[in-house]
């Protein structure tokens, strides 16, 4: 009973491939955005505003006559760049903090973990908003705010893996053999931590894309005229009754991208466990990942 509830079912596997397809398409579109956009994404043409789908404008135009397809592609690129920068920064800083915390231990560990616990108990988006309130508006301020809000989860995961690995026999025997601290951390502890972190990051990318869009939706993230899906969405909301497609298209793009990252992450999480893992353990792991995913 309930085969669909597990992630090892055929359906889940197919979903994983679909996710890879979506993400691959998204990455291609975003990477080659400047060559793929049929029109300059910010070029206005008020004579042809709010048009429906046509041969000239495949996905229609918005209220300023800007080509929607071009803006969607350019928006995907904006999101990708922001997400990539935040993930890399948060991962790097989080891994450093988590390794220090897990390896050194003692009161340093205690203080770092209390702070991360506190930050994780508040929804990350609210932390990011508070940071934007401190830094002010702007692209790089948004990136900084999101990075700060996202560091604790990476620190936590790294610390967990480091603490679990550092007392394992193979690490202790290396220590006895005279391996230096740097060598232990760089060649044995970090690779162990990176596995879990990369899996986490792939789910996290979707959550971050959603966070970037939400901030832009609130007018606190990407500033116009730069195109971004959340910004396109909020821009088109007043014209919901005239041209609902301008609202639906960025919404769909966002939903598909986030779903793609989510299922890619789930799939990776189940591949990450080559040992026969019980359905229950897998579900707890996914539930933990999803805890951070609710935004």
């Amino acid at each position: 009973m309930g085969a669909w509830l597990t992630t090892t079912s055929t359906f889940a596997r197919r979903l994983g491939w679909l996710a890879i397809l979506i993400i691959a398409t998204y990455l291609m579109l975003a990477l080659f955005a400047p060559y793929l956009t049929p029109y300059p994404p910010n070029a206005q043409d008020l004579m042809s505003a709010n048009q429906s789908f046509s041969a000239q404008h495949l996905l229609g135009t918005d209220h300023l006559g800007r080509d929607t397809l071009s803006r969607l592609i350019a928006g995907g690129q904006t999101t990708l760049v922001a997400v990539a920068v935040v993930v890399v920064l948060a991962m790097f800083i989080g891994v450093v903090i988590g390794t220090i915390s897990g390896y050194v231990g003692g009161w340093i560990d205690e203080i770092i973990m209390r702070i991360t616990d506190f930050m994780l108990s508040i929804p990350s988006l609210i932390v990011a908003l508070a940071m934007i309130g401190i830094f002010g508006l702007g692209y790089w301020n948004m990136v900084a705010a999101l990075t700060i809000a996202w560091i604790p989860s990476y620190a936590r995961i790294t610390r967990g893996v480091v603490v679990a690995t550092v007392h394992q026999p193979h690490i202790e025997s290396l220590w006895v053999l005279g391996a230096s601290r740097t060598r232990l951390i760089a060649f044995h502890l970090l690779p162990a931590a990176l596995r879990s972190i990369l899996v986490y990051a792939s789910v996290d990318a979707g959550v971050l894309a959603l966070a970037v869009a939400t901030l832009s939706f609130l007018g606190l993230g990407i500033q116009p005229p730069m195109s971004e899906w959340g910004e396109m969405f909020v821009d088109a909301m007043p014209y919901l009754d005239v041209s609902p497609r301008q609202v639906v298209l960025p919404g769909l793009a966002l939903t598909f991208t986030v779903a793609g990252f989510n299922y890619l992450g789930e799939r990776l999480a189940s591949l990450d466990a080559p040992r026969a893992i019980s359905g229950r353990a897998l579900r707890t792991r996914l539930a933990n990942a999803r805890k951070l995913l609710v935004s």
Binding site: I122, A130, G133, A213, L240, V247, V248, L252, T255
Partner: protein, 312 residues
Amino acid sequence: MSRIVLRRFLSALVLMVFASIACFSIVTAFPGNVARVIAEMRSSTVSDEIVRQIEVEYGLNDPLPLRYLHWAGRALSGDLGESLRTGQPVAEALIERAPPTVTLIIGGGLFALVMGAGLAFLGALVPGSIFDRIIHVLSLVGASAPKFFVAALLIYTFGVAFRLLPTYGFGGPLSWILPCISIGIIPGSILSRVARVALAEEMSRQYVVTAISKGLSRRRILMHDAVPNALPVTINAFAMHFAFMVQAALVIEPIFAWPGIAAYFVEAVRFRDYQVLQSCLLVFCIFFILVNLSVDLISVTLDPKQRQKGLA
């Protein structure tokens, strides 16, 4: 029992103190001279003298611990300072803006609970039925769809296409429907899956086989045995989503033009009104801590295992 309750209350109190320190430190993290920012908001011409005057007025030259105690003392007596932008007392504004936010979060919570628990129960009653499929599809979409997109689809369907429900402003109960559904539908769909998995796990246990072989009906087993056992997991999941509704309210309140606390917070972020910012954060933190506390207390009363631990 009373000892464990007392201990939970005390730890919640300690957490609140930590939260207040964190919220207070936002002012100190404010880059640049806070006094200058205040002066710039008050008038266009800023002289050093005015800045110094404001420093004295706000006690910005006092040592930090003293400033914290000062601020916390006033906050406890209900004085959260004034908005830098409008000059309105923040506490007054928060009380004014509480009804929409409370309505939204409680309404959304109820919707999520009824939807999640209802779907899960119906799905468990007839495994593999249409309800199971609904849960499946919703949980696939639910984790990925942006809240504002869901809200826009609802606005378009019920407000623009069929003109059935109001989509703008905080008025009578009719205007509550769409916002509450928009905020509750995603947690509801995730909750339905959590509850469904918990029920499926219970129904595959051996005591259920025994009960079936004794001739009890599936519905009876569900109602009397599986549901009570699946309750703690479900309530924990619900509480987490309930607390996270504050985050969703950040989006839902502006989209429906509800003048709530979340919208106030977003405004404060936009205009860097740190007095409002830190007060809203404090309110949010207290809400999270209280939700966690009540979950702890509820699961202690529901879960015999935890109750025993508390007694020992």
